[in-house]
């Protein structure tokens, strides 16, 4: 029943999620810069605040104040809407992420399905940005993104289904509960699923070594070449929110979610999630980028068959 209490609850949850997203994205941007700096034997941002911790705030203010430039000949509406189509799905995906035993915006009984459905919308925004910019580099980036994200969705879903089969539920919270005794990643069958998940999720959020849609050395900046100011910031926020979400899902599905001794659940959850993010950053700053055909070949000729095989073995084991 829709009551006033319900409404306030919704609003507070919404504000909490949005606040978390903003802070998390800013923190991740700062952290990525720090991680890359230390890998490259530099120091990274050091001026704004302690070790530059407020650097992202300064950048955000700068981006807010920047002039919003629209290229001549851009498809106005599509160009305008694209950043929202990137950010909104990633915000929506927070709805079923279990931060703690009770700390979950909404424990849907089809949580996994919901996340998959919502996060697929992202590609639309990316493609809109590529098309709407009236720039050939952007268009190429958009095309690449569409092809890549759709291809990698297959192994991604297959690896998540393996977990769902073992846990026998689609609810995120119940998947966490099913890992009370041991993490899913310790199970050989699910460990493979976990690896496939991490790989295809990296591709899903366009991170190196799968960052071909924005491949700097080839396409300048890919689909967001023409964006400036706050619109660019929204792409940025969307990217880092997606990064958080895929790591959070990996934590939930494979690393026991918020479960852990002594410390409260939410701390465990964040520790695990940020550890996965660190590994993803570490990978990003180490490897060269794959080429577009190799990327597709990797998805269709390697990851998809293996995840099908894995799924079949899981079914056979469960029978």
């Amino acid at each position: 029943m829709f009551t006033l209490l319900n409404l306030t609850n919704m609003i507070t949850t919404g504000i909490a999620v949005l606040g978390f997203i903003a802070i998390s994205a800013m923190f991740l941007i700062w952290w990525e810069r720090k991680v890359s700096a230390h890998i490259q034997t530099r120091l990274g941002p050091m001026r704004v605040g302690w070790h530059g911790i407020l650097q992202s705030v300064a950048d955000a203010i700068k981006l807010l104040l920047k002039e919003d430039i629209r290229p001549a000949g851009a498809d106005k509406l599509v160009w305008w809407l694209a950043p929202f189509f990137v950010v909104v799905p990633s915000v929506m995906a927070f709805a079923t992420i279990p931060f703690g035993k009770t700390l979950i915006p909404k424990d849907l009984n089809i949580g996994v399905l919901y996340i998959l459905a919502v996060s697929s919308v992202c590609v639309l925004g990316v493609f809109m940005a590529g098309w709407g910019s009236n720039n050939k580099y952007s268009l190429l980036g958009g095309i690449r993104a569409a092809a890549q994200i759709i291809s990698y969705e297959v192994p991604l879903i297959l690896s998540m289904i393996t977990v769902v089969m073992y846990a026998n539920t689609l609810s995120m919270q119940k998947i966490v509960e099913s890992q009370s005794h041991s993490w899913n990643i310790l199970h050989p069958n699910l460990a493979l699923a976990g690896l496939i998940y991490i790989t295809s999720a990296t591709a899903e959020v366009n991170r190196a070594p799968f960052d071909i849609p924005e491949a700097e050395s080839e396409l300048v900046a890919g689909f967001h070449t023409e964006y400036s100011g706050m619109k660019f910031a929204m792409f940025f926020i969307g990217e880092y929110t997606n990064l958080f979400i895929i790591s959070a899902i990996a934590t939930t599905l494979f690393f026991g979610g918020w479960k852990g001794p002594l410390l409260p659940g939410v701390i465990w959850f964040l520790i695990k999630t940020y550890s996965i993010i660190y590994i993803l950053m570490w990978i990003r700053w180490t490897f060269p980028r794959l080429r577009v055909d190799q990327l597709m070949g990797f998805a269709w000729k390697f990851l998809t068959p293996i995840s099908f095989l894995n799924l079949a073995i899981a079914g056979w084991l469960l029978l």
């Binding site: 190429l140 050395s217 080839e218 180490t286 490897f287 060269p288 980028r289 794959l290 190799q294």
Partner: protein, 376 residues
């Protein structure tokens, strides 16, 4: 069915499109502009446009004395200034029929080989950057290059445009204690080259990106007058330091690494191996460095007899030739710079067969062109 076909052809069609890669593009190594004709991701045609950095050095040279032109050679191949200085000064010395002292020869070999390492470091760093290994290998390469630059800063007092090698010798003798620093650097650099092997050379993604890309056949390479590591990667063992030893290169023991296939990976690998060989040369040169005065006393203004000289040296990017015509005055009558990158870039349209956009970046990165000397 037939009707449907006609209708579809009218409504749905594909077309090729032109895209301008550069002169402002993250991976065209300066102000190179490539006009690409694309069919989706595939590149059908590639037309390089150059000249954005044209400063008409050959005309400027006609207004400068022989000594005054040395700082301009720094700005040709600005990541290997020492080698340019060397090539020019040796061409002028050839014209003047001037002999230099043994110590000067050794010092020249040391600085030229160190600069070769610095140049190759930039080449492989930017190549890795082009392949999308974002900034990390580049930073490692610059970290090592910084040590060379520091050594040069101590030797000659500048960090990029050295102007160290002069007609008749060098600017000034090596400063005290620099030998020790160079020796330390050699030891340090050896371990770092092994590190690059771990990080890049045999990395599976790197191999997938660079192997069998931009195959440059031996005969095509020679026909296009490609020189330097690009030619050697195609399997031609041609190195002026071995073939026509200038300075004291014939006294040192070193190999000329050659590639097998002539693909982008081979070009990269040849550079890595060349750095090892250069370290070897520097080590030997330091070991047998003779004492004495490195400069020959010459007049302030050089007036070579009327005549002409063409002199080639082995630069990090290929064979740099200076063709100097003198009319007996203090100014060169004509000075032609045969820049290695110029010919190396000319072969690019030949390499793009069946390439994708990502490969274009990979190929042009592996050719290691430098606009400063192409446009002159």
């Amino acid at each position: 069915m037939a009707d449907l076909d006609i209708k579809e052809k009218k409504d749905i069609f594909t077309e090729e499109f032109l895209i301008n890669m550069g002169p402002q593009h993250p991976s065209t190594h300066g102000v190179l502009s490539l006009e690409l004709k694309l069919d989706g991701e595939m590149v059908l045609e590639c037309t390089p446009h150059i000249g954005y950095l044209h400063r008409s050095f050959e005309k400027l040279a006609e207004n400068r004395t022989y000594t005054q032109f040395i700082p301009f050679t720094d700005r040709l191949d600005y990541v290997a200034s020492m080698n340019n200085n060397l090539g020019y000064c040796m061409a002028v010395e050839n014209l003047l029929k001037l002999d230099i002292t043994d110590r000067a020869k050794y010092i020249r070999v040391i600085v030229a080989e160190l600069n070769r390492i610095a140049s190759h470091l930039i080449a492989i760093g930017t190549f890795a950057q082009d392949l999308g290994a974002f900034a990390t290998p580049l930073f490692y390469c610059f970290r090592e290059r910084e040590k060379i630059v520091d050594i040069f800063n101590e030797i000659c007092g500048n960090r990029l445009t050295y102007n160290y090698i002069r007609i008749g010798g060098v600017q000034s003798d090596l400063p005290k204690g620099i030998e020790e620093k160079i020796k330390n650097f050699i030891k340090y650099m050896r371990s770092k080259i092994d590190e690059y092997d771990w990080l890049l050379t045999y990395n599976v993604i790197f191999l997938a990106r660079a192997k069998n890309i931009g195959l440059l056949r031996k005969d095509i390479a020679i026909n296009y007058s490609v020189t330097g590591p690009n030619l050697r990667a195609s399997g031609v063992k041609r190195d002026l330091r071995k073939d026509r030893p200038y300075l004291v290169y014939d006294k040192f023991e070193f190999n000329v690494p050659v590639g097998v296939n002539g693909d982008a990976w081979d070009r990269y690998k040849v550079r890595i191996e060349e750095m090892r060989q250069s370290l070897k040369i520097v080590e030997q040169a330091l070991g047998s460095l003779p004492q004495g005065d490195p400069t020959v006393k010459t007049g302030r203004v050089h007036k070579p007899a009327a005549g002409e000289a063409y002199f080639r040296t082995e630069n990090p990017r290929g064979e740099l030739g200076f063709y100097i015509v003198s009319d007996g005055s203090a100014y060169p009558y004509r000075l032609k710079i045969r820049a290695p990158s110029f010919s190396n870039l000319a072969v690019l349209p030949e390499l793009i067969k069946d390439a994708k956009i990502a490969d274009i970046v990979c190929i042009s990165g592996s050719l290691d062109i430098l606009m400063g000397e192409i446009d002159r």
